[in-house]
Subunit: 186 residues, 2 copies
């Protein structure tokens, strides 16, 4: 592995009718995904949001925990929240990692929507052997747009239970935790 | 498997100094853990809280999503939130499942604290073969008390990454998702 980053995408993502929208930042996404990222050894968590006021909110949350009174109350949290990188677009995240051509972009989704996907067993082997940094994208709302998914180097298979439970609606926080555990857990 | 329930415990749990405390309910715990439970086929999510006002809060959240306007907005969420069972104590959760003697109580923890634990590989086999209902306890705050952990039938091993990242502070929402995936994922 040459370095792993995560990106939580608030735009472009889908709403429940399939339209392209921008979602609001959820405070606990930042905490949970930063803690999971740090636990499994990811080096950065990009928070992708095109609206400046939302980026400032995320920056303030980060500062509270990395430098402010949050750090004094829960010192461990600083080591996780320190991974946050707040950027306006996916392109900015890619640039920070060396540019689109220098990295692998992986996507996650609750449904393959007919596209070819990579199993977790294969993805785990590929991540261990890959010679470029990898960034795994997680969509908020109803998920990443078809264009983002189509442009990825790897589309990781949807997470599912062994039993057919007829339900597959994990939160992005839960999906991120499971993805990291499947790729990097013991 | 003879039926699986989860329990999110707000008392008795530890604070960061190791004292026994009661924590407040976090709205997103109910959503995330209910969605994970439903995705992996658990039949109930007990919300254990000794304070009536906190139980009423949890009941109102449940009603909003199972019967109220939340259901109209996101119908899928109703199928998950319908798993919530709000009870004053762990004993009440055990009684609802047939009584302590009729079930297996499993605990999860971020640290084994020197106790013997069951690996996830073993726990997965045991869960598939067990002839009594199983309830898996998740602690809020700084985790379940020593007494609760000592009284369990199975103490599942702490979740960890393959690499030594020096950090193991998952949110209870993330830990619950990973536990279910390790026990019941494909």
């Amino acid at each position: 592995m040459k370095g792993l980053a995560l990106a939580l995408v608030h735009h472009p993502v889908l709403d429940r009718q399939g339209g392209v929208v921008t979602t609001a930042i959820t405070n606990l996404d930042l905490h949970d995904m930063a803690r999971s990222a740090r636990t499994y050894g990811a080096e950065a968590l990009f928070i992708v949001h095109p609206i400046e006021a939302q980026r400032l909110l995320a920056e303030r949350v980060r500062e509270h925990w990395v430098e402010g009174s949050g750090k004094r109350r829960i010192p461990d949290r600083a080591h996780a929240m320190d991974l946050l990188r707040v950027v306006p677009s996916l392109e900015d995240a890619y640039q920070a990692l060396g540019g689109r051509g220098a990295i692998e972009v992986w996507t996650t989704a609750a449904s393959a929507r007919g596209r070819a996907v990579t199993s977790y067993a294969e993805a785990r082997e590929r991540l261990a052997a890959v010679e470029r940094p990898v960034v795994i994208l997680f969509g908020t709302g109803w998920g990443l747009t078809g264009e983002v998914v189509a442009g990825a180097d790897v589309r990781v298979a949807p997470i599912r239970a062994r039993a057919d439970t007829g339900y597959n609606h994990l939160s992005v926080r839960a999906a991120c935790a499971i993805t990291l555990d499947r790729l990097l857990g013991v």
